[in-house]
């Protein structure tokens, strides 16, 4: 547990305490393939190890595309004074999001930023940038 003590001290030193991850982000998402989308926030899952936001877009036409955007842990946002209620209030409303697209070409991405209807920006940077 001393190791844990050292780790915690080091982590605190590096300002990187609990960064929960259950997979390798850069293996799944291409940080150099940045996409921007506007649409409707339709669903959210605000739980560990990372949040998930679902955005419905129309891709310039009538076809509805469903995008799944993965973000950091809820604690990442809590420590930045962004709470579940801030995002929950945006469900069913228009949002704009930036994300790094999945390498497999699916309609999923790693959230970088999302602009909520009132103009509030929730940023997953620097963790996801």
């Amino acid at each position: 547990m001393k190791l844990r003590t050292i780790f915690l001290a080091a982590a605190a030193f590096l300002f990187a305490a609990p960064v929960w991850a259950h997979h390798n982000m850069s293996a799944i998402y291409d940080f150099n393939d940045k996409i921007t989308m506007s649409g409707t926030l339709s669903k959210m899952d605000w739980r560990n190890p990372h949040i998930e936001l679902i955005v419905e877009t129309k891709n310039g036409g009538t076809e509805v595309q469903t995008w799944s955007l993965e973000g950091p842990s809820p604690s990442f946002f809590r420590s930045r004074d962004i709470n579940k209620a801030d995002v929950e209030a945006a469900i069913g409303k228009p949002v704009t999001a930036e994300a790094s697209r999945a390498r497999d070409g699916s309609r999923s991405g790693l959230l970088r930023t999302m602009t909520l209807p009132g103009g509030k920006v929730i940023s997953a940077c620097p963790q996801n940038c």
Binding site: R4, P18, H23, A27, P49, S75, S79, Q127
Partner: protein, 610 residues
């Protein structure tokens, strides 16, 4: 520390320093100040200069949270990254070696960063990686600190700058992760958008690219053999038509190499850091052909001064070495009584981690770093005799060993390629390791306990997970069950001795101050708690780790500032705990209480060695 682990840690450290993912300092001003003071006491480093024989020839400035010190080309100044814990940012400073005067070069905002400095050949400018408004870029600024910073290259992905070539034409950098890496050179000439040259890409991790003085070769570190080693290969950004294929790469190091290597100004020597804390030199020539001699050790730092790759560098003449020297690292395993008084020691001083009493209180499980190889392995130490038995002899990274409740087996995590896998082995060191579980690629596992009935191992990803290690599935088919998945973090799970409760830490109440909670656990329904939580602590600064007394009637935990506390606990007729009471406080900030014996009368701590 194993080299592959080291490279991962190095990457993690560099990226984490740059990423600043989640500030966890308390918001309460008093607690925040205490936390910062503790961080300074346990992490502040002294910038120290050494000659070619390893003799310390000077110390510069006060101790601070330094990393990545780099000599200016004339060796009269040092560029260094200094952390501002309160602002949660890092900035680039230039330190005058004669006067100790510090000049701030970069000015990062809150949760912004500067990292990995590199001097221009004439010393007038310093380049660095800047994290600005959520985006990474290579920046340069006058080394006097005057003027504005200039963006040279914007990157969507994290990157680490390693050098400014001696001919002034390129910045070299790398980008790497658990899936592999690439090294790059960014041409600085011309106008318009700069495009980096990808020198080399690999499925292995690549770090530390630095061009030879004539810019014909590039030195870099790769873990392609399973250990990080120093390589050199030709650098041909614009190969002539019909040019013969390049020779190389050549492996220069023989016993491992960490971080990056440093070319001497005349290109006839390269110096690198070996895992056994040695500074190693290789004589070589780059013209007409590349030739090199066997590596020779210039000097070795003592075990008390472990060297991290991002904490040391060499001047252009290879005559001076700068090291950001950490606080003393050697620890003596020490037994304490319930008042915190030392009542005995176990074994010899070393670099230990993860110390745990055996269930019968007669042995200790420890992780120990081999001073020669840097390998970190699991040992069991007999408390009465001090005799140590090696449980693992791995060169790969391992972590978080835990006892089975009968004291006969040990489970631990081994990291290979991008997988964290859980193994178990006999606690007497005999027999082969048995694979129990493999987790998602790229994700870490840190075991915290093994259930009394041996059916579940637990770890956390913020979600508290249960691994059903006795299930009928094959080990590779086993899935971790999400026992507690919420919008707050739950971690450090510890089964009660009767296996019917789970104590854990959580930031449910306040994101920056974890507290101790207990919930019912039902082994027949391991995918969710069997009842609501009760909160055991409301400590202003939060709790660190926790454990149970073997009769389940007392819980122990440590505060951020080293107070060892206990709380009475009863589960009948309902879950209930008494007010936490202070047992003792460890005054030395470098000491750490690691575990409590089964009867709650003895504690084990890693104390700074005298």
């Amino acid at each position: 520390m194993k080299t592959s682990f080291r490279i991962a840690v190095t990457i993690a450290v560099i990226l984490a320093a740059a990423i600043q993912a989640a500030a966890q300092l308390p918001k309460d001003p008093e607690e925040r100040a205490k936390a910062i003071a503790q961080i300074m006491q346990t992490n502040a480093r002294q910038i120290s200069l050494f000659d070619r024989e390893g003799k310390e020839v000077g110390q510069v400035g006060p101790k601070d949270l330094y990393q990545q010190p780099v000599f200016s080309p004339d060796a009269k100044r040092i560029a260094v990254i200094k952390s501002d814990v309160d602002k949660e940012s890092n900035d680039l400073w230039v330190m005058d070696l004669a006067t100790g005067k510090m000049t701030r070069v970069s000015v990062s905002g809150e949760r912004e960063n500067a990292a990995s400095p590199a001097w221009s050949p004439d010393g007038s400018r310093v380049a660095y990686v800047g994290l600005r408004q959520g985006a990474y870029g290579l920046y340069q600024k006058l080394s006097s600190g005057e003027g504005a910073e200039e963006l040279l290259y914007k990157s969507n992905a994290p990157l680490v700058l390693t050098d400014w070539s001696m001919d002034g034409r390129y910045l070299t950098f790398y980008s790497t992760d658990l899936g592999g890496g690439a090294i790059y050179a960014l041409p600085l000439a011309g106008s318009g958008e700069r495009k980096p040259i990808e020198i080399f890409r690999s499925k292995f991790q690549l770090t530390g690219p630095r061009l030879s003085p004539d810019a014909r070769f590039v030195a870099y570190v790769s873990n392609e053999t399973g250990r990080t080693e120093l390589y050199i290969r030709p650098f041909s950004p614009e190969p002539a038509p019909g040019a013969a294929s390049s020779k190389g790469p050549w492996k220069l190091s023989e016993e491992g190499s960490m971080g990056m290597a440093f070319w001497r100004r005349d290109g006839k020597e390269i110096t690198y850091l070996a895992p056994n804390r040695s500074i190693v030199s290789v004589s070589l020539s780059t013209a007409p052909d590349f030739e090199f001699e066997k590596p020779k050790v210039l000097f070795s730092m003592p075990e008390t001064t472990p060297l991290a790759p991002n904490m040391a560098s060499v001047n252009r003449d290879a005559s001076r070495y700068v090291i950001a020297v950490p606080p003393p690292q050697l620890r003596q395993i020490t037994l304490l009584d319930r008042e915190g008084k030392a009542v005995g020691t176990v074994g010899q001083p070393g670099r230990f981690g993860a110390i745990r009493f055996s269930p019968d209180g007669k042995r200790l499980l420890v992780m120990k770093i081999d001073p020669q190889t840097g390998d970190n392995n699991i040992w069991v130490m007999d408390i009465a005799t001090g005799k140590a038995t090696a449980i693992t002899k791995e060169t790969l990274p391992i972590n978080s060993p835990v006892w089975s409740r009968d004291g006969k087996q040990i489970a631990y995590v081994l990291v290979k390629d991008s997988y964290s896998s859980v193994y178990r082995k006999s606690a007497d060191g005999t027999g082969e390791a048995e694979l129990l579980f493999r987790y998602t690629p790229g994700a870490g596992v840190g075991l915290t306990d093994w259930s009394p009935d041996s059916r579940f191992l637990t770890f956390s990803t913020g979600v508290l997970l249960m691994v059903p290690v006795q299930s009928s599935e094959k080990p590779l088919d086993r899935k971790a069950l999400e026992w507690l998945r919420e919008d707050y973090d739950a971690f450090d799970g510890r089964f009660s001795p009767d296996g019917r409760l789970m104590a854990y830490l959580s930031n449910e109440a306040d994101v920056a101050t974890p507290q101790v909670y207990v919930r019912p656990f039902d082994s027949s329904k391991p995918a969710s708690p069997a009842g609501p939580a009760i909160q055991i602590t409301s400590l202003k600064g939060g709790a660190n780790w926790l454990t149970w007394r073997q009769d389940g009637k007392e819980l122990y935990f440590v505060t951020r500032d080293g107070q060892v506390m206990a709380a009475d606990f009863t589960s009948s007729p309902k879950l209930q705990s008494g007010a936490p009471k202070l047992l003792f406080k460890v005054a030395d900030p470098l000491a750490g209480v690691a575990d409590v014996g089964p009867d709650g009368e003895r504690f084990v701590a890693a104390m700074p060695a005298k």
